[in-house]
Symmetry: C2
Subunit: 360 residues, 2 copies
């Protein structure tokens, strides 16, 4: 069949041009008579791919030189454990801000390793809003403050970077990285699973201020140390080469789109028109406080959950796929990452209006 | 250009049919209008892929039901740290057999975590032979014995499974898994990075006796526990879905080849003819004791290292690529995994004879 609009929260849709290039090069990459999957990560040809990807990412995000860029494995979830192991000692306290399911999971994992202090917890607000900043209880001596700028499940996003003073700020940007410009200098460490805005699942991108790499203790095994990966240019062991290559194709695609300033404008417009359609429908509902509504993940409910199955079936018929909400939340969720064309959002809005008319 | 014969040690060549299918399905997999890379790992469609891959692997290797099969990340190198963390307590000793660069690396990483006892060390034999088994010093109370059945760099392989008594045997099978039948019952845990005989880099396959999963202590973070991955069917977090899918295509291809009995015969024949050509040439030389010569990785030297560059250049001209030996060993290395057709080995042998004639 033809390509559909795929609203999956992740692994998520990729730019068609990227998939086409990966397809065309699958058996004969760079005129080498083999796939990029089949060449040594230490070959000159692959190292060129790896370095170009890093350099394009640095350009896109304006990453300062005193930050290392790492290409790692294990998903963002593995970093939930490795971040406390790398950035703090067992004696130090660490600060966590809880604003949804992902920051909650990160907090739970950190607790197996460290004394965790909760800065604020949005659970009592049903994670539809962030506790007011005046109520946040930041520890001046914390090793770092961890938060999740975009909660993929709840659809809650920070539209600014919170001020946490001199303590290094650590951000799980899995579902917001590359969706708009950010000031990397405001962060100690940024990490992101690739499977939303970067490429295939199984790759993690990390941007970390180099001085923080020196904190790791010798009791941490070498392969789990960010410093060791940084020292070896993310080739301490065989990296996920195909995913790194696809990530590079995505970075090149983003540059062709005009970079993060331009893509941020498109993302803002896509999100605003979808929220407007929801709010003005008198039919659909999004529960998130307007100041924290995500540009990337837009959950919404129908007036009657009994209509969900019909909505999903008719949407699929119309070429609009993967709209089912997360199992912990229910309802619908439209994930509209960079690779979702504005036309896909327009189609969804038309379909939603039509469905409401017919079932209202 | 046309496909070449690619002797890379890893990431290594894949079956052409597998690459063709991945290419053909890149934009529209299963008639879904999206790539397999773009669908949720929790979707029915992907779970079917994941389960089929596991079931085919179980069939190929005759994995007993009391063994879990896991699809993990981080490479075999990450398991060098996670195995001691999961299979032993800080108080227990662990046994390591050192027969080459990879078992040496595994040993070094285990030392950061546990009291390591060396069963035997082939360093004094230049890793070209294994110390005689009567000299092995096994600890009856070790938590496990670790070894590497095939040393990719030295080209040294065990052609039987060593008897270590009742202590669980742990094997890094990265470069030998699926190359012949093995009796899984003789092992406590088998693990392998995918990038040689399974699929793209970034995936690890692990086969572990279920009772061993219960050893892990609560001080180990959840994401680093094999037991947690087993409990969630390797979907504790987003797995490397595309690599898992390609691995499944490789398993299906292996079944079409007639399974491991048949592929083992072919591998034995490929290796024997290449070693015979080396030994009988009076020109090339392989340093490994005949009883331990690897079926998968065949290092060889020319009479004069000054000829290496000419050999590599002329081989590449003849469509025989990636023959350069590992940087730590020098000379040449032909990795002839499952996906290297016998015709590729035949071509290499002809080329080698011709080169020796012209430069001898």
């Amino acid at each position: 069949m033809g390509r559909i609009y795929n609203f999956s929260a992740g692994p998520a849709t990729l730019p068609v041009e990227v998939l086409e290039q990966a397809r065309d090069e699958m058996l004969d990459w760079n005129g080498r008579g083999s796939s990029v999957m089949e060449v040594s990560h230490r070959s000159k040809a692959f190292i060129k791919v790896a370095e170009q990807a890093e350099s394009d990412l640095r350009e896109l995000m304006a990453v300062p030189d005193d930050y290392a860029v790492l290409f790692l494995q294990g998903g963002a979830t593995q970093q939930f454990a490795l971040i406390p192991m790398n950035l703090s000692t067992p004696e130090q306290g660490v600060d966590y801000l809880v604003t949804g399911q992902w920051s909650k999971k990160a907090t739970a994992e950190a607790r197996t390793l460290r004394r965790v202090h909760i800065v604020a917890d949005g659970a009592s607000l049903n994670f539809a809003d962030v506790p007011s900043r005046s109520s946040w209880d930041l520890s001046p001596d914390a090793a770092y403050v961890h938060y999740c700028p975009n909660e993929t499940i709840g659809g809650l996003e920070f539209h600014d970077v919170p001020d946490v003073g001199a303590v290094p700020l650590v951000a799980d940007m899995s579902s917001t990285i590359l969706s708009r410009p950010v000031d990397v200098r405001k962060f100690g460490l940024i990490y992101a699973g690739a499977q939303k805005n970067i490429g295939p699942a199984g790759l993690v991108v990390m941007i970390v201020r180099r001085d923080l790499l020196e904190r790791v203790q010798t009791t941490v095994p070498n392969i789990l140390r960010f410093a060791s990966h940084a020292k070896e240019g993310s080739m301490l062991n065989t990296p996920p080469t195909f995913s790194w290559y696809v990530a590079g194709l995505v970075f090149a695609w983003l540059k062709r789109q005009g970079g993060l300033g331009r893509i941020g404008e498109v993302n803002k417009r896509k999100a605003e028109k979808l929220y407007r359609a929801i709010d003005e429908s008198g039919y659909y509902r999004n529960p998130v406080a307007p100041a924290y509504r995500s540009w990337m993940n837009v959950p919404f409910t129908l007036p009657d959950a009994g209509l969900d199955a019909a909505f999903l079936a008719e949407a699929a018929e119309a070429g609009l796929a993967e709209l089912k909400g997360h199992r912990s939340v229910g309802g619908m969720r439209a994930s509209i990452y960079n690779a979702m064309p504005e036309a896909g959002v327009d189609s969804l809005i038309s379909f939603m209006a039509d469905f409401a008319r017919r079932h209202g």
